[in-house]
């Protein structure tokens, strides 16, 4: 019951602000087999322009799958997703990204990407490297970078085309503490200063609560949007209940 109330409450706020939605998904069903049981089961998602949304949920709850659907790598079994953003930056989940031995330099990874998105301006490479404090690693091999450094390069790549929407999948997994802080500060700055819409899958609940404007909590194939504060209360209630039972 509580969940339903929170859900209505937060949509009310959104309607008052009347911002352009950047991602809209309705009646979304998805399973990898194309049949029941559905991993995403009648899911709805509305993300307004300019928000910083953290997507949280247990392992295997379908967070990465939802991102892949939004990006168009997967087709919904039924339902649809409307994306108004044309330019998207994507930072993939790094433990999925098993290509560490690939012979490619930081410069090559960025320069080829720049050409693919049709960006003529070569200085975009140095600019974005500077923004993530990685300028001096331009000629390094990707495979020799630490987890945090590699993640910063992926961030630099994602911002190169001045995206309207940035999708990140567990940006702090496999990243040392110092880089984690740096990375979250950077993402937060993109959102507050450049107004970039952020959708970030988070297993790091601290980061989700302290950085995002809304939290999309996924359970049993559904999701509900709440404020970080509501999420925290909900979380504390659940753990207290579990504690009482024990």
């Amino acid at each position: 019951m509580r969940i339903v109330r929170i859900c209505c409450f937060s949509t009310d706020i959104r309607q008052k602000k009347e911002v352009r939605p950047i991602i809209t998904a309705e009646d979304l069903y998805f399973s990898y087999t194309g049949a029941a049981p559905y991993l995403l089961d009648h899911l709805a998602l509305h993300i307004p322009d300019g928000d910083y949304v953290s997507v949280v949920g247990d392992n295997g709850s379908g967070k990465t799958t939802l991102m892949r659907l939004i990006l168009g790598f997967l087709k919904p079994t039924s339902g649809r997703i409307v994306l108004t953003a044309k330019r998207i930056g994507y930072v993939p989940q790094r433990n999925d990204f098993s290509n560490a031995a690939f012979p490619i330099t930081v410069f090559e990874a960025l320069d080829s990407y720049r050409r693919l998105i049709g960006l003529k301006d070569r200085s975009a490479i140095d600019d974005s490297l500077k923004q993530v404090n990685m300028a001096e690693h331009k000629n390094a091999l990707m495979g020799t970078l630490s987890g945090g450094q590699a993640q910063k390069i992926l961030l630099a790549r994602a911002i190169m085309g001045r995206p309207e929407l940035m999708i990140l999948d567990e940006p702090s997994t496999g990243v040392d503490m110092n880089s984690q802080e740096e990375i979250y500060a950077f993402i937060k700055r993109l959102n507050t200063q450049s107004g970039l819409t952020i959708v970030s899958v988070e297993h790091n609940l601290d980061a989700a609560i302290s950085n995002s404007t809304s939290i999309f909590h996924m359970t049993n194939g559904h999701g509900h949007m709440c404020t970080p504060r509501q999420f925290l209360e909900e979380f504390l209630n659940t753990s207290r209940r579990e504690h009482d039972h024990a």
Binding site: F97, L116, G143
Partner: protein, 275 residues
């Protein structure tokens, strides 16, 4: 030996092979598709036997049949997502079946051995023009699609986010693989073709450079391998394909040893390099 026309022809064709094979090979190796080279070279044998039976150019026959097989592999990939090696077995069965049936029927007017083992004696003027045309076409396509192909190999999802038409380019790529194989088959032969595609790249990967440098070193190693293979096989009077394959394995071992020795020296001096 260079005064013989056949040797000049062979040398000319070899240079193109040496450039083309690693250009294709680097993408196959990095996408962990090396075995496709093997499957497709067997497909080219089927194409050759079909062409010989109907009095067509064997290089052309190889190209058409191999390109179709490459497209078939790409197509089947959508159906057998989890069992992609199965696809190779299917195409291999189809190709080897065709080739063996035709060869054993005794209806070939020429001997197919030259294509199995590679031979420099049989390179004709028509072959040279075809090799030239296919090579120019392939290298041109590779230059045009360089960044797309690099990203599909490196990070396919990022390529898609950037708007690369992955499926289309994969089809184009299978045509390029077919071209490289049909160009090479005359000299190198079916049996060791996949080593020409993979070994110079494997050698260059030992140097741990970026993509462009790795590609350039693969071409360099490939040229050295095939030239050495060609000359030595001529003096030893053995098939050039087989000997080139041996040379490329030797080259890989030399580079690996040199790297190991260098690391030892650096450790001894107390400043270890990258492992």
């Amino acid at each position: 030996m260079l005064s013989y026309t056949f040797m000049q022809n062979a040398l000319f064709v070899s240079v193109f092979i040496a450039i083309l094979c690693p250009c294709i090979g680097i993408f196959l190796v990095l996408r962990r598709y090396s075995m496709i080279g093997d499957t497709l070279s067997h497909a080219s044998l089927a194409g050759i036997t079909l062409a010989l039976m109907s009095n067509q150019s064997p290089v052309l026959g190889a190209f058409v049949f191999t390109a179709l097989s490459g497209a078939l592999i790409e197509f089947l990939r959508g159906y057998f997502k989890r069992y992609s090696d199965l696809i190779l077995s299917i195409v291999l069965a189809l190709s080897v079946g065709t080739a063996i049936t035709i060869i054993s029927s005794g209806r070939l007017r020429t001997n197919a051995d030259a294509f199995m083992f590679g031979s420099i004696l049989t390179v004709t003027q028509t072959d040279i023009y075809l090799v030239l045309a296919l090579s120019v076409f392939s290298v041109g396509a590779l230059i045009l699609l360089y960044h797309q192909m690099l990203y599909i190999a490196y990070d396919e999802e990022a390529a898609r986010v950037a708007g690369v038409r992955v499926k289309l380019i994969n089809y184009v790529f299978s045509v390029l693989v077919a071209a490289a194989i049909s160009v090479s088959i005359r000299i190198v032969g079916v049996l060791v073709l996949s080593s020409m595609i993979a070994l110079p790249v494997a050698t260059a990967l030992q140097l741990e450079k970026g993509f462009r440098k790795t590609l350039l070193y693969s071409i360099l190693f490939s040229v050295i391998d095939i030239m050495l293979g060609l000359f030595l096989s001529y003096y030893l009077n053995v098939a050039p394909g087989g000997f080139t394959a041996l040379v490329s394995v030797a080259m890989l071992l030399v580079v690996m040893s040199a790297k190991a020795i260098r690391t030892r020296i650096q450790i001894a001096r107390g400043k270890p390099g990258r492992a």
